[in-house]
């Protein structure tokens, strides 16, 4: 090909044009595909809804998710086999994923281009030079992998914090889409809310704006996935390089270099994202995509010293027990960390969850929320049920979160397993936690007001919430009879609020015998419903008690599955009068409330 370059420069030029154009088309295509998969992540049957769209595909292509889970759990969830294709292609082609596929990378590429396009060439060359700090991403990668790799010490998977695919997935799904959809209501019927989404947004925005300082800032300095590709890509069969050792050193090839890999000199292969801009910008056609090393020399290994590597590993190994000094996996476990149905036991869950937010996106009721750090640093952006947000609690007949989870941190359970039917009848339903009535806040318990919304909404059969009937005498409700007819009692006191006791919930207890419903009242009289009769007309001077009929809720903890519908519906809207906490959840036998029978 080199000799063709020399002998037919126009043909060669058109070819280089084509490869950069092809790269741009690829970037636009995969970015659009990614955005499309975010939009269609809505449960439904229309073509723009979930149906069978492979919305996890980008996460499955991500070898960091695959390698991370293999390190922590020594097993690979089969859909992550896609990552093998990425790895194989990287070994053949180099970091094609960064320059051609990664939607986050393409966004940085585009913003960096927009922000810096008017700068003078010399400034562009300066911006795109290699910097020592580009090694930081390798430290981050090694740190995360070290945190994941030593289960005997206590492993945790935290790659998702900075892994660009989960990062951009949660940023799009949990921030951008709800913002855009706020008024359109296309992606969801009601507006979606995500607790702590501001932090996801702030990180996303910062990463994007940093392109104005240095193009592809995130890719060059932070991205642990890029670092992984850098490590794998050092073995690449094809690589960018010079086809002559000498050149005039005009540095134009570094003007638009996306990776900051210095193609003019000793090209740093592990930094090259295969943007092919150098190949296009070299007016002398000295740069090729070739199987031989650059004739000007190349550096294949990432710039990470033995000492830096060792320090990163050591930090990673120490970090996990340090994070866990709060004992959030032990006796100090946080009762508000209520995981979705099918979630693995907490220590295993933390070895699999990549914080991508897909479960939060797919949840039809919006009850699955990104966790905060109150539940421990590892809890950040992991799925937690917050029954105060969304249209209802966890729906009885729904297992969407486990079906979508790309790493099986939430297992893909069936409805039979969730509800404890068929072959799971012996095990019983999956409990997410247990509902507790706060008798100091519950309307019928604390304030003598009828309510029982919780009981009505309990979806379990037979209901886990049941009621018992009480009649409570209202404040200043003991009254003296002045006069009584067949349907009406007049009282000595004239303190009643007219009509207040005519709601159908109030009764009048005569002496300590008959109790009759109040149909109407004035300030000093009470009427009973037409058709009802006193056993005997009450005598003047006698006492009556004005009572409210209450149904007070109780939770049968053997039946409660912790779905949170009661908590969601409880009309005590501040601190709810019935709240689910994670005690009794199926996945943690150690947190059981009841003795086994």
């Amino acid at each position: 090909m080199n000799h063709l370059n020399r002998y037919s420069p126009q043909w060669a030029e058109s070819l280089t044009m084509r490869i950069v154009t092809a790269r741009r088309i690829s970037q636009v295509f995969f970015f659009a595909l990614f955005a499309w998969f975010c939009i269609v992540g809505t449960a439904g049957e229309k073509f723009w809804q979930l149906r069978g769209w492979p919305v996890n595909w980008f996460l499955q292509l991500d070898p960091l998710a695959a390698i991370g889970t293999v390190l922590t759990q020594h097993s690979l969830y089969y859909p992550l086999l896609w990552a093998l294709a990425t790895v194989v292609l990287t070994i053949i082609l180099g970091r094609f994923f960064c320059g051609w596929v990664c939607p986050f990378g393409s966004l940085h590429h585009f913003v960096g281009f927009l922000g810096n396009r008017k700068r003078p060439t010399a400034k562009k060359v300066e911006l795109n030079k290699y910097r020592k700090a580009q090694r930081v991403k390798y430290f981050i990668l090694v740190l995360f992998l070290a945190m994941a790799a030593f289960p005997s010490i206590s492993a945790t998977l935290q790659t998702g914090l900075l892994d660009p695919i989960p990062l951009v997935t949660r940023s799009f799904n949990l921030v951008l889409l709800p913002l855009v959809d706020r008024s359109a209501n296309i992606a969801s019927v009601t507006g979606r809310f995500y607790e702590g989404a501001w932090l996801i947004f702030a990180i996303f925005l910062t990463a994007v704006l940093l392109n104005l300082v240095i193009p592809r800032f995130y890719c060059r300095f932070i991205c642990p996935l890029g670092a992984l590709f850098g490590v794998i890509g050092r073995f690449a069969i094809w690589r960018i390089g010079k086809n002559q050792s000498e050149c005039i050193n005009c540095k134009l090839c570094e003007k638009s270099c996306e990776g900051g890999c210095e193609p003019a000199g000793n090209i740093k292969i592990s930094e090259c994202v295969l943007c092919f801009n150098c190949r296009q910008d070299c007016k002398h056609e000295l740069i090729s995509y070739q199987t031989v090393p650059s004739l000007a020399g190349e550096i294949t290994d990432p710039d990470i010293s033995r000492r830096g590597f060792a320090l990163s590993v050591a930090t990673g190994i120490l970090a996990v027990p340090a994070i866990r000094l709060g004992n959030r996996l032990g006796s100090n476990w946080y009762h508000k960390v209520i995981r979705p149905p099918g979630a693995l036991p907490e220590d295993q869950f933390l070895k699999r969850c990549i914080k991508c937010g897909q479960c939060m996106r797919i949840c039809p009721t919006n009850v699955i929320q990104p966790g905060g750090i109150t539940g421990g640093l590892e809890n950040l952006w992991t799925p937690v049920l917050n029954n105060r947000i969304g249209s209802s609690g966890c729906q009885l007949n729904c297992v969407a979160c486990g079906q979508i989870c790309p790493t099986a941190a939430i297992r893909p359970i069936t409805l039979s397993e969730k509800l404890g039917r068929d072959q799971f009848a012996d095990v019983g339903p999956i409990k997410l936690g247990t509902a507790f009535v706060d008798r100091n806040r519950c309307l019928p318990w604390a304030m003598n007001r009828p309510c029982i919304v919780c009981e009505e909404n309990c979806p379990v059969s037979p209901k886990a919430i049941y009621t018992q009937e009480f009649f409570e005498t209202v404040r200043d409700g003991i009254l003296t009879i002045r006069n009584a007819g067949s349907e009406k009692i007049e009282t000595v006191e004239s303190s009643l609020s007219p009509g207040k006791f005519a709601t159908g919930d109030y009764y009048c207890l005569i002496g300590d015998g008959q109790r009759l419903k109040v149909a109407a009242n004035t300030e000093n009289s009470i009427e009973i419903p037409p058709g009802e009769n006193f056993e005997q007309i009450p005598a003047p001077g006698g006492k009556i008690e004005l009572q409210v009929r209450l149904q007070r809720p109780y939770v049968d903890i053997e039946k409660c599955i912790g779905c949170g519908v009661c908590e969601h519906e409880c009309p005590v809207s501040g601190k709810k009068a019935i709240m689910v906490s994670a005690e009794g959840e199926t996945r943690s036998p150690g947190r059981a409330l009841l003795l086994k029978r």
Partner: protein
Amino acid sequence: MADNPINDAASCFTLTGIGKAASQAGAQVVLPKDNLFKHTTLTGARLIKNWPIFFGPFGKADKLIGIAPVKHHNRSGASMTMKNWYGLLGGRRNIFHQDINTIIAELSMMVTPTLVILDGTEVMMTNGPTGGSISDLKRTDTLIASCDQVAADAYGCTLLGLKASDLPYLAKAQNADAGTTDYESLKPIFAAVG
């Protein structure tokens, strides 16, 4: 076809088959999107004041048909055509459970349906209105169609073994001229079908 149910609306229409039946009949299912609610005050009401009402789908309708099953409802006794209009309420509507009879009566004042159909083919005798099990159902093979929702419910509650006087909201609705509990006075036609 519209409702604002307790559980996720889209799932409800799918799981019950109502959505499919509606589209087969050429009807459109309208989900309770936020922008379809309008703050409304009902004249003479104590509870429905400046309250978000699911008004959007009905703005241009010239006929309104209410369809409801007969269900046990622990708080009010029974949920039938009048209680079914709860699906028009938005916001923190659960707070009205403190005064369930008044809110049901106000719903019947707010809505004057062209027709109500009360489905008593199988009624929920206990553990209502949500959850429960198949064993809570009883076959009563009755379908009630009426232009008077109060009368429909007054008859419907007999399927649950109740009398109209057991449900205070019926008397309240009658007092507000929303209909009559004396369904016999409307000379109902009883027809055996099938």
